[in-house]
Amino acid sequence: MGKGAKPNVCDSEGDNALHWAAFKGHFELTRLLVYSGFNPQLADSAGQDSVELEVKDRNGNTPLKLSRGRKYEDVSLYLENSIAQSRQLSTKFDCSALAFGPPGKSKGQILFFYICLLVWGYPTYFFKIVSVSFNKLWESHMAFLLGNALMWFLFLKASLMDPGFLPRDSKEYDRAIRQAVYFDEWKQGKNSLHRLCHTCHLVKPLRTKHCRVTNRCVEHFDHYCPYIYNDVGYRNSDIEPEWLDDVQKNGELFYLELSEGEEEATLTQTPTTQIPGANHVRFSDKEAEIITDSKKHKEGGKYEPRLKRLAKILKKKKLSQRRSDNKGNSNSYNAGQSSRPASILKNQPNQKSGILVQQQFKDVCVYVNPKRLGNSTLAKGYKLLEALLGIIHQPSWTRMVVSKVEEPCNEERLAVHGLVPGSPAIKCGQILIGDFLVAVNDVDVTSENIERVLSCIPGPTQVKLTLETSSFNAEGKGSTSRNLNKQPQPVSNLVKLLWGEDAVELQMAIGNIPHIIMYLSLKLDSEPLKEESEDYYGMRRLYTILGTCLFYKGYLIGNHLPKENLLDIALYCQHYCLLPLAAEQRIGQLVIWREVFPQRQCHPSEEPVLEGFLEPEARYFLLVVGLRHFMLCVLLEAGGCASKAIGNPGPDSIYVDQVKATLLQLEGLDTSIEDRLAAPPTPCLSGADWFIPSARERLESITNSPVFSKLHSSLKATSPTSKRVLFGESTLKNRRASPQRSLSVSDSGSEGHGDNHSFSASISPHATPDSIRKFGRRESQGSGASDGSGGSGNIFKEKKNIDGFQNSSPITNSSGFGNVKEHGVLFQCRPENWTDQKKPPPTMTYWVVGRLFLDPVPQEFYVCFHDSVAEIPVELAFKLSFGLAV
């Protein structure tokens, strides 16, 4: 209207804007219209006055009628009032509006609350209760009153405080309006005006919403609460996540909060075990000072009050560094290693200065034994340094960083360019690549005299090295490439180093991470997160979710990511020891956010996957949210069809919350997963002969016999590890099948699962899919799966390692065929000693199918299943093969 739009224009039905506003129930708009163009007090140029409020459209509907018809009480009330006012042609003080507030923002609820409490609640309390029982229960009365006071204070605070209203009429709005025409984004199909609030005349930041009740834009708007008579927004709500303060300036976040029990455990251990080997650790100087000397710190830690220690540990734990990966793991360091801090750092990152180097001296004691060295190694320059201490210094190679910052020295300083694996330097864990060796046993050393100094070491002794730590921090993006430069950490069961592993091995290692396939019907939506907020506001969504993967205790449970991305994420998680962390400790809360450069998107292979498909130019972000044993990794794409990321965006709380909500939804799963994990690693077997009903009657006698029970227990004791079952010996070795016999009931006919000759006779191996042994001599692991999903039959399974690969297996034995991939035999079994002459004996047919898997190691895998089992469970059983430990 400010631009000159005519408010009285009608559409074909004769409905004008007011009709529509009333029809749709937009109270604010109705008010605005009445206030501006339809004000009955001001007759417009056309000479229409109060009648206009009652303008009928062609259907004879007035706005009032429309709003009543749609049951918009406040709108109709307001319209009635307006009409009444306009008829009286005099301004009338609106009593009800004063008492109950303007329509639409009714004070009714809060008044009811006040009145109830003040008129009824408190008098009753004071006159009826206090007077009677004050002497007896004055403590509880005092507590109640105090609580009441607190309640009132908080209530009034919530009610009266500014929920995060944004200032109106900002200049940005005007500028945006003026520039709107010239926006290039129009051409790209983006509507920048979505970000503008035309009521408050401001540019809405993210998650800001205009509240139509209070008629203001509220930051982080949640809802309008009629009881506190206020909006719930950024300022008066506690929705701000704990990790928000820990977001780095480059947007990265590594936030780990252990669960309660773990914190206790951490407390009882020495608190010196923190310190990751990261470069930009945000310790205060004081704290780092303490840590510099581990002994002192230990002592200090002991005498600290407990609360303080807790606070400290919490603080450290919140240490939000992406490098602080082993922070959570630290409490499980081995005792021997935990006595030393992993690194000594005392610097604060300063992102804005680009590269910043701070020097800090530290003393490191290493144990060296020069006698252990052969004479041959004591040859040339710097050899001693390398051989004795394990520090590699390359004299000619000075880094850019060093030359930039350091003063040019006459004698080259001894920079640590590398560490020899297994050397004293690496064992102590304190010498970092990039440090400078300043003194040995308080003797200043340079590249000139280091060899001399070191050669003076007479025998096995402890040497004090003084090192100058120079810590530098490049701006965010380059940081991934430095993963490999990471300082070695103490090796514990949790911390696995990249050290010494080349890329290929690493890939293999990832391939070997434990997988589990659940028969559960996992309710995993492929897009578990709804971009609720952005869609609601009509904004371009911030990120597209490329896929998620869910880990439970380090087991991959669900994955929607392409293989390459999954590998990348698994590598990341493994590198930062998140998987074992989730497996061994319960994470209280874990939020990781960082920009990633996934291999699939950033280093696409030569040939495109699909013709004409190009990965969009986008940036990728990894969001990992952990909750107890669950860990959900989400790969987000900014750019492409989502809006472009500008700068270094931090984690978006909506996304984090949605992921967390998803995890909470999945909570119920953990019992079933636990069940599955607790189950023996080998699926349960059933024997083919159990399907034959004739053996049923024999069951009773068998189960009671001591032989059976003995066998039963011995079978249970059998470890599931693979054992060699030579055919000739196999009569003595039974498989694990029978303990799970109760599971072998299937629909396919015989509910009774008796056993055949195996138990009644000597303990011969016929209880299990003995057909397997047809294939002769092999190393086998009795395992099997009852096909839970189908229920139509049982899968008997046999796994086979390729030991006598060349000579025994049917697959490779038939070498004349070239490479045989699959081989199957259908067997039919009949009950023995079928006496009933009239009926033909019942038969049961089952397949034994073996496949040859060449990857990762050549192995044959045999599945034995009932004839009626469909292909899909069988395929599933084959897929299980790689999850079974051989």
Binding site: A688, F727, D770, S771, R773, K774, G776, R777, P810, N813, S814, S815, G816, F817, G818, N819, V820, K821, E822, H823, G824, V825, L826, F827, Q828, C829, R830, E832, T845, E871
Partner: protein, 415 residues
């Protein structure tokens, strides 16, 4: 020493180790005498220690099989072929000895008086032995011990004619063969041992170039010591009729009087038999099948074909030679491992694992998926069906394909 895919057959006298003959398949040269000597020496050493040397396998995939027949003749087969393992070589030795019996008679072989004479006599069966050695031929009878058959559409007429012809030739054993496959045979002919039927088919095939022939034969099972006369006439090129008879009639009289009289009206049906050549039965075969082998266990007859369709594309994928090879391999695999019921219950000692003995479960079907092809085998109480299909066929369809094929074949041919 041996080139890939070659088989060497050595024949020695069991007691003295004198080489009787040495035949070979493939391009490899004859084994040097020292090797022959040591091969025999190993076996002889074993037998002197009361141990029987049956077979051995070399690292390179080669196989050596020994067998002594009638304590007089020792046969050694050396194969460098990886796939055709021991079972095939055993069958081969069996067949070769039967050939020798067929030509020379058992007496001659079991009581060797003059080695030089025996050597000379054995030359006459070289051709037949070579026939068996060339196992890549169109017959699989040497392996299955089932006579390869050909189902002609006019088999009724041919059967009548053959019966009449055999009666006229004063014989009960008559057989009509097309290209080495039995088209029709008299009832008595089928009562011969299956091995003999196969052997005679091979014999007739080895004589293919002659128009008529009269040769004395000993039947290895039926009459190993009393020779019979096998009269053999070529009716049209590729189609022979043969009768086993006593002293009469003479070849000349039979050829001049009987052959023309009985068979000249039936030239067209005979020609049609040759027309079937590749496929051995009429009627459509299900698509996707590259080769099939159907064995009737009761009558020991087999249908064997690797050229079922004239599909050019199918022909390209696998040449017929390779198909034959694969089907033979698969047959060997399936029968030795799973389908133990030998066609005629004949148990010859196999060196298999003795597992199946105690195993009551009966294998009915088996399949194998390789890079080159897929194979499926099916066993019913009366029949065995072996299919060779294209590798593109989905594995789960094989079973239905096989059952369908079996039922169609049985319906079409009444096999």
């Amino acid at each position: 020493m041996l080139q890939a895919g070659s088989v060497q057959l050595l024949c020695l006298t069991a007691t003295s180790g004198v080489p009787l003959f040495c035949r070979g398949r493939g391009s490899s040269k004859q084994l040097p005498f020292s090797v022959i000597g040591s091969l025999n020496g190993v076996h002889m050493f074993g037998s002197s220690q009361d141990a029987q040397m049956c077979s051995t396998a070399t690292e390179g995939g080669g196989t050596v099989v020994w067998r002594v027949f009638q304590e007089s003749v020792a046969l050694i087969a050396v194969s460098s072929e990886e796939g055709a393992g021991e079972p095939y070589l055993r069958r081969l030795l069996d067949n070769v000895f039967n050939c020798m019996v067929l030509v020379l008679g058992l007496d001659e072989l079991s009581r060797v008086k003059n080695v030089e004479r025996l050597k000379r006599d054995l030359r006459s069966c070289y051709r037949l032995i070579d026939c068996f050695l060339e196992s890549g031929g169109e017959s699989i009878g040497d392996l299955t011990h089932c006579a390869d058959c050909l189902v002609s559409p006019d088999s009724g007429v041919l059967q009548e004619c053959l019966d009449a012809f055999a009666r006229a030739a004063e014989s009960e054993f008559g057989c009509l063969l097309a290209d080495g496959r039995v088209v029709v045979a008299t009832e008595k002919w089928w009562r011969l041992a299956p091995q003999e039927v196969v052997l005679l088919s091979f014999l007739v095939r080895s004589l293919a170039s002659t128009s008529s022939r009269d040769c004395p034969i000993f039947l290895p099972q039926g009459s190993p010591n009393v020779p019979h006369r096998l009269l053999c006439f070529q009716l049209v090129p590729g189609v022979d009729v043969c009768v086993l008879c006593g002293p009469t009639p003479s070849l000349q009289s039979a050829e001049s009087e009987l052959v023309g009289r009985f068979w000249s009206p039936l030239v067209e049906p005979l020609r049609s038999c040759i027309g079937l050549k590749g496929r051995c039965f009429l009627g459509p075969a299900p698509r996707g099948i590259l080769g099939l082998l159907l064995i009737n266990l009761d009558s020991s007859r087999a249908l064997y074909s690797v050229q079922l369709s004239q599909d050019a594309a199918a022909q390209d994928t696998l040449p017929p030679e390779r198909r034959r090879e694969l089907l033979r391999l698969f047959y060997t695999l399936a029968t030795t491992r799973y389908f133990q019921g030998e066609p005629q219950g004949e148990k010859h000692e196999t060196q298999m694992e003795d597992f199946p003995a105690g195993f009551s479960h009966e294998p009915l079907q088996c399949y194998l998926a390789a890079a080159e092809c897929k194979c499926f085998a099916l066993q019913t109480p009366q029949h065995q069906l072996f299919l060779l299909t294209a590798p593109t066929l989905p594995t789960f369809t094989l079973r239905s394909l096989a059952t369908r094929t079996l039922s169609t074949l049985l319906a079409q041919t009444g096999f």
